[in-house]
Symmetry: D4
Subunit: 251 residues, 8 copies
């Protein structure tokens, strides 16, 4: 592909259509692409439409606003996670088109459309206390261009609730399974479906829960096949991974 | 009850049927019983037929033999847990009637009969790797005078296997649920039955299992009601507790 | 039982008393019951009168009120644990008959009467600092239909206080032993009684207590037989388990 | 689909072609399928050709042989992980066609052919010490019907080695990234590719590595998007998950 | 050196130029220096100009002011770390020449000039969230008399950003590498440069980050050579160590 | 005291009874003593008769023999802890008078007599499995010149056994309390006696014992006053500390 | 001793000087004393003057006031630890003679005089940040009747400061060594003195300090002999233990 | 520098001294160097003479031999760490000039001479048990071209031993401080010297040492300035870092 372009440059140089400096510059740019870095940009291109992300927690509303403005001006979609209402209000002031998903604690500013993936991502959550993390996952997945189905309150201490939803759950190509406490949901789910499962431990619980450690360890030790795990409460990360998986075979 | 006995002693003393020293001794013995310690013995009596227990692991066959002989001579039933074949052979040499339960790693010497409890104890185990712990629990429960039903290989990654056995499982008055790795079995079980469940985490697994920590934490954080937990791999302790529970309302 | 009903349906179908569609529907419903799920409902029935439970901590008063209202309308008894006064006030506004147990941090709304169990549940607590957890256990056990006796301030650093109460403690069929710090109470108790003991570690302490870890580990490693353990500060869970145990041999 | 079959049965019953008992049995079987369990079997079917798995570590060669024979007779493909040579020799004695992959520590017995997935799974490993885990992943993925490319010794302490392979790595649809010690490989990789990455921490290291904990935590906290994690040393689990992902959009 | 001085004293004594008491005192002082303690003071001298340090966090503004005043009166440079604006305001009230570096959270009062080291200290930081720690390191290093270059936002999830800065980074004689989450920066950096690297894990992150543990363990297990580690968030300590290293070969 | 000696030296110098060099040397030596280091030696003297100690575990028999020989030649008593029979045999070969205490795993070589302390040290141990640690403590205390009383097998799960021995236990001036598993012994003991208690957690147990962590944390969190703790299995350290305490008020 | 008293009773009974009931009561009381419980009271007596203690932290001012009032009315000395000013104000309102030690966070109400111990307790503290814990120890020791010497700011990073104080430190019969961070003080001290040392780790520090864990572990692993350890920040416990030790050989 | 070379190439191309293909190849090579990778090689060059390293532990003698042979043939110096005698014998068989440092557990094969650094590296070790790690550090530093001074057995429990060596220790430009157990050595050392200190925690100890964790945490929390830390037992890493530091200001 680019070999022809180089030849073209060299010929232009030979024929004095390009000065020495211009030749040098043109060559450097082309070869740079050959050495992997162009691919980095290409790789970015591939994820085109995927938003730039701000982790708002621990930042002031002012800081979030400024970062968001900067990204917005670049024409990127902007996704702010773990954002409070105060974060949103600061952003909204500066960028009219900013949206806020309260339960998901997400700010979103759309500048470009992400094309829709074919498969469905299912977000399966154990308890009502896991709602924030579940919504963070579900809304993120939607904003990344996926069709999302929510299956909430299907915790394993009442396994019939899960079985009741099995038909629908099996239509999803990827599943995100969210649970705190004993974190058994991905394991039970893994025995009933054949899709890959991204497990999200939550910090819901107390005592020997140790801020999500119990669910995290349980998920890492799942005796079901097809389960992989992300950080405690990382609904965003699960959705991002699920989105990549959901697009496999599409490009 | 014993007040009459004291009066009897005092009268005997007054009438010189007892010497001063004899009176003193007799009084001390009786009053001792009044102060709680007699109750300790009574409490032992209540658990009559329950064996004395040797934790063999970390003891030499010779040591186990000697302790067993000593208990055997007292007329106690003797139960040796975590015993290897070598332990058993040393004991067998000295005590002809000793029995060995290989998978349960239990030595038993019967000297007195434990009367049979009415209820059934169900031992439910997730994987074949948990077999040793499961058998330790099941055999212990049997030797403590219970009818035991075993439900093995009903791990939650194939929840239909558990549901298939539900009818029988529900006939048990107490359940012992044994699982390693993600330790989800007691939680799923707890949503399907109304008996109390003693959960036993096992050290089966590797990596982030941390020698049974994952299953232990999962069980302590169970979102199902009616679950309590014993130490990692403690099949004996679960069976002992289940036996006490199984006899409630009997005495 | 239900076989006759199926025959009835088939006969009605044969005699055209039922259309094909009606027959199909009727069969499906009946067989569904046969496949375990009916048992799930039956199992619920068995625990009839046992309340539905809201874990209030981390929820807003508004959220708690709405969940409580929903359950209340279903005719369930409603039990709210870890509830603050604010939670209660919100609920009280909507449901006149709601009661509040301040030390136990429990909201209760009675819609149906639980029949009384025969045995007594003893709640034994080490220090005054464990009072909240102890009351959560005691009040829960009472609301689940048990007679409860409280034995507070009988910590093991003054073992004679425990021995003074031994007579009464031994009349209980199940014991809940609550302790923070070094968590030795269930072990000492286990050597003096013959009832099963549910041990509750509390997060009372500081430093190397690590939020209840010291008591939790101590209880799991108890050298006394008959002790099983629930999560740190989980007075509710201990009471629920004790209630199930206390009804064994009654049904 | 199955509604016609039910009608058929009912008609046969109406016309006395089926006895009452035969009708009952036939209906039960059909409806059973309707209630989710058939789907469990179907779901198995979907993963057809995927082998049944034996975790050999901690089992005797004799035990492994027996389990393998049983599975083999069912016509399943059989995959034994963490198997030593001794395990293999015992199996080979009984089943002529058993193969052994020494570095991967895998026994395989083929009874049925898995159809080939279209995408490529890339196995990227940091150090030569991670070889066993890497081969466990690579061989498993191959046996599950995937084309596998191996990229070994591309640890991040020499990041140019990774960049040299970037072209080829980017052709894979899923990546398995294996690293011990500081576990940075999946993060660096995640910044260079757009495929989902299954990260496998290994127990390679010493001291503050704490048997793989350092790599595990690093991977769970990866600042790169698209990374999910399996248990320490779990090459098999990563390959299984990657295989599910690699088939998305194929069925 | 000092032997001559002793002889001088002894001679003065012999010639009655010194009384017995004066001789004694003079000797003691001199010999004291010989026994190591003088060296302690000398050693202090060697670090001359290096400030005395106050760790402000957990102290009241009033306390910080008083300690600062005391040091200031001794003529020392004073460096207050982890200081809030309130700390600074209290100090400023009392000491006019106090300066405040807000992002670094550092108060500085200059009383004496530190001579400039020849080499450059490079401060390399992964994410914008690590800014406080990075600035603490950078400002400390500057105040200790070093030329500092900042390389911020060069996290390893975009390794090309790091490579873009490589020329400049390689001109530094010591590097401070700051990262939270998976803490991979020092490892990647270590493969690209030949300077010693002081790694600073930060507590930036959530969940399985466990307040900086993930980054700490990753850095201690770095597979790159030349990396040593300081406490979580200890930007000051890293800068102090780097300053000592940067002056090697200068004295 | 030593001031006179200095004057003496100075006078000798003035009168030429000492050369300059001799004067210098003599002064340095005397002043050295004044500066604390002499006290270090004096402090050693104070513990005169206390043996030099070899921690044998992890050393070869040959290494232990050589260290022992060296100490023996200096005229020290020599105490080897955690020594196997092999260690002893190697030492015995070279030093005829070496003794071996098998259960305590202690080698002792006496070269000088330690004078007897007045008080009694009581060694109280919970289980027979703690015997090695208990004997290490008891034998060490004896070899350090104390009268020792052993109270073994008085674990808290049978608190009456402890109370039976209370009279004798109260005659001890210091107590060493040794327990594994739940580590409750020092707490119960602390409520019954008024002597200081050195608590020794042992690594006896399994599962959630985590190699002695459960007992260690329990002892550090003891709700009894007067309890301090040494390292897991550190019978020697407890005995050494108890010996220092036992001699208070004697010198 | 008490045998004569029993004989006296029996003789009085024989001679009808005592009724049967009076005899019974008198005997029971005497024998009770024989069985250990009297000794519990005697043991309390032995510690006469030692205060009753309230751990104020986590209690409301109102609760502390009530407990204090109750103890005060019993004539006990009352010691409140971890008390805020608010606690003190509430107590002061009710009990005029209450004193407050602000840095020690101690409330004290004196009702009886503790006789003075002969030895000195030295409180040695590493940093100014450890002041609260140090004062808690020092004030407690004083209130328990000891002469206390304070040696503050003698941290090991400037070991000459410690050596400067050595003379005075060596005059103490027991030492309390308080340090946070790396917790090295007791070890260095242990090499310089021959008194027993109670080590108190403090939670002073950040990051890998893990709330005092680093100092705790360091102290438990001290390579110096004669060191035992209490809980993190437990200045009170150290002082109580030191007081018991300081009185050895006095009674 | 290289711009001239490019012009040269372009001119050669213009004048047909180079074919199109030759031109392309020549340009690519030059530009490659411009893009950072050449610098990687240069950076390698800079560390010229530094050996390639094999971590032998966990590898078979055969594997180590093969890797060593491969490196040896490349003309590299080869350094094998954590090597047993068996490793060495296998290597020696194939490479005559291989040397073995037994206590350091190091194999070395010299192919090129490292030029000598000016400064001295001091290796300071606490106990004789730390000898292996100390020698690993010392021998590595020597083989990397440094003058090394060893200061062994200067543990802080006898601080005068350390002070006795202070003169010599202060002549070193970098220090490696090695200690197990409570890990206090680097802190005490840090208060006495002005060189940077690389601290190496060792796994020497037992119980609450947790395989080196106690020393590691202590060193990370050192209250002395100028201390940075490497992994537990990582003598090699400390020496490598110290070597880089020791050469600062030399190039």
């Amino acid at each position: 592909m680019y070999k022809d372009k180089i030849l073209q440059i060299l010929m232009n140089f030979k024929q004095d259509a390009l000065s020495t400096d211009e030749t040098l510059e043109a060559l450097k740019k082309l070869l740079y692409e050959d050495l992997g870095f162009a691919k980095i940009d290409h790789h970015r291109e591939m994820r085109k439409g995927f938003p730039e992300v701000i982790f708002c927690q621990g930042k002031t509303p002012q800081q979030v606003k400024e970062i968001a403005l900067h990204m917005h001006k670049n024409g990127s979609n902007v996704l702010g996670t773990r954002s409070s209402k105060h974060h949103f209000e600061a952003v909204k002031e500066a960028i009219e088109e900013a949206d806020y998903y309260e339960e998901a604690r997400i700010i979103f500013i759309r500048n470009t459309v992400v094309n829709k993936a074919k498969g469905i991502i299912g977000v399966v959550a154990a308890g009502t206390s896991d709602l924030n993390v579940a919504e963070e996952a579900a809304v993120t997945a939607e904003l990344l261009g996926n069709t999302v189905k929510r299956f909430y309150d299907v915790g394993v201490a009442g396994v019939h609730r899960l079985i009741d939803k099995l038909d629908e759950i099996r239509q999803c190509s990827v599943l995100i399974a969210i649970a705190g406490m004993e974190g058994a949901l991905p394991t039970v789910l893994g025995g009933l479906v054949s899709s890959p499962i991204i497990a999200v431990p939550t910090s819901v619980g107390y005592g020997a829960n140790f801020h999500g450690l119990s669910a995290l360890l349980a998920m890492l030790n799942s005796c079901a096949c097809g389960v992989s795990v992300v950080n405690i409460d990382n609904g965003f990360g699960a959705a991002y991974t699920a989105s990549l998986i959901n697009r496999i075979g599409e490009s």
